[in-house]
Symmetry: C2
Subunit: 411 residues, 2 copies
Amino acid sequence: MLKINATRLLANLESLAQIGGTPIGGVSRPAFSEADVAGRAWFKIRVEEAGLAFQIDGAGNLSAILPSTNPLAPTLLFGSHLDSVPNGGRFDGSLGVLCALEALQTIQEAKLALPCHLEAISFTDEEGAALGTFGSRAFVGDLDLQDLQLGRLTPQQLDAGLQRLGLTRTGFLSAQRPADTLAGFIEVHIEQGTRLEKAGVDIGVVTAIVGIRSFWLRFIGQAAHAGTMPMSQRADALWGAAEFIRQAREMVAASFSPGVMNCGRIQVSPGSFNIVPGEARLALEFRHSTVARLDEMEAALLDLAAKTAGALGLQCEAEPLARSSPAQMDGRMMQVVEKTAGQLGLSHIRLPSLAGHDARSLSRITPTALIFTPSVAGISHNPRELTHDEDVINGANVLLHAILALAAGQA
Amino acid sequence: MLKINATRLLANLESLAQIGGTPIGGVSRPAFSEADVAGRAWFKIRVEEAGLAFQIDGAGNLSAILPSTNPLAPTLLFGSHLDSVPNGGRFDGSLGVLCALEALQTIQEAKLALPCHLEAISFTDEEGAALGTFGSRAFVGDLDLQDLQLGRLTPQQLDAGLQRLGLTRTGFLSAQRPADTLAGFIEVHIEQGTRLEKAGVDIGVVTAIVGIRSFWLRFIGQAAHAGTMPMSQRADALWGAAEFIRQAREMVAASFSPGVMNCGRIQVSPGSFNIVPGEARLALEFRHSTVARLDEMEAALLDLAAKTAGALGLQCEAEPLARSSPAQMDGRMMQVVEKTAGQLGLSHIRLPSLAGHDARSLSRITPTALIFTPSVAGISHNPRELTHDEDVINGANVLLHAILALAAGQA
């Protein structure tokens, strides 16, 4: 049975991790940074050294291409992203790109004639230095010029960043790929959670990528003197927010698992030691893998906010913010991945992804699979992020044989 | 029985409330502001029109003086402050100054020969535009040049403010009054709470002014991905702060009343919708009327913080901040006030003051009494602050007869 070159794959991982490497073994390589420029140059050299065709599109997405003998054949696409969060780990994104390149090189070296073009791709700015999943959204045509203005960079910073990568502000529009040229997309990614590790399982087959909804909850009470206003007569907005946090986490854990919620920001006003808070603004985010469950969570959480506020004599207003829909992975491709893993003697389970990925974008236009490898202790977006060598190799081999099986299906 | 001139007192209150007056009947007259300058000028004119001696000391404290025929007699002092918080009410401070002026005028008009000098005083910046109880601290010698640097104004702002009042940066040192020249101090003030109103009582006789202690509580967990980190494995610092807030308010209400606590500020980091809070910094303030009870509250609250943190897998660090000691009012003066109120047919109760006042400063060097009048709904530091005319008049008459009784005791 064909296997990837484990030594080469691990060497590539180690070599790439030096670019933007941090003292304790992590990686800081945000999109558009000098480290990103260097990482992209490194990838181009690897592709060309392998004798594969290198391609860059108008969104800066980088590809290594192994063409089919049939020029009219569709393209089977696989990959992830080379950028990292600031002070992140060496596996998030990079693992998927290097597994893709390794699978492509292995197929090339095996001199297999395939009925579809194979393309290993690295999407630009998945982590959102400017705009999250920038490259994959441009690739599927889910990005317009106005979206660019919603990013985290000022126009000047964005222009400078694009220029550093040899891109222009409108160039990404040309990156859109017609859906009918694609045979599917496969992404290998670290789980960034603990479910595989806890279950002692080698491979995760993702069923869906969660949808995310977020709200500002405003608990409104009455500011008052923190000495003279008796505690029994206060309408303390922070008391309401605190009560909501406690009850919401218990409710979500009890009734909505594996869905999750988070309160990651809070602002209190007037904001003085000696004034009872008149208002508390709480950031609420929650995730689940179906629209139906998201709707249920939203109703339950907003109802809880109103009830906890009311019980303490407060008002509560909920301001909806950005939301993303859940993305379902392709059923046939999931089966192919499971069969492949089984043939390689690897254990596997199905599970939803609780984080967004480029696979979310691709699933809008082509059958998509997302393969998880275990993360030690679930640590990610952190220099201590770790996936064991064996799991890296397993991920690449599953990808290799899923590609081969899917390509065979195109014949 | 001698009575104050109610018509004149209420007219003075109304007239003074126009200076820095706000559209809905409140007052915005922070110390060192143009409104403060105007309020002080108004007071000087009233004093001189009454034929009383006007005096200003190096801290800008303003006095109206009715001298004894015995130049060696001690001074019986009474008053409060003319400054307000921004967008505050018309009674806080002003009531005490105008009751003092009214009592003095009444005594003057009655041509009573008294065995002590009488002095009605307005202390500078009680509310802390620059430094809380600035004038009364200078008066009792509890302020040095370094303290000035701890205020809320920049050196330039402070110099400009002092200049506006005709003061210099070092002048306040000359405001210190030798304790042996004083026979005592009486302050009339609105309660700013609801205890008198709830009890249906006319006059509050303050037993002590609470001590205040404050801490930053740092709940320390582990920042994590708000999607992929299972809720059961999070060390969410905000969960700890929220749990502490809930349990602390219940504990203080159940075990430390009339002591109170407040959490008036909170800061969460990293502070992002999609990141589990790694740290939450919570402002804790609590108040009680004796050192023993403050010590018990401190131990119980810090113990609770450690326990709630520990139960959620968090650390907790407590950073002590500024503290003020409780100030006991003088027992004999409390009895004089009670006897006076009784003679006037007014009901009275003893109660601690949960806010600081100039009386706290004065109690350091001279026997001090603090007389509360009822506040409608406890509202204060707010344009809707209200004390009914009848209660204003009662407060002034109790002050008048307390002065007469105490002066008689000096004979």
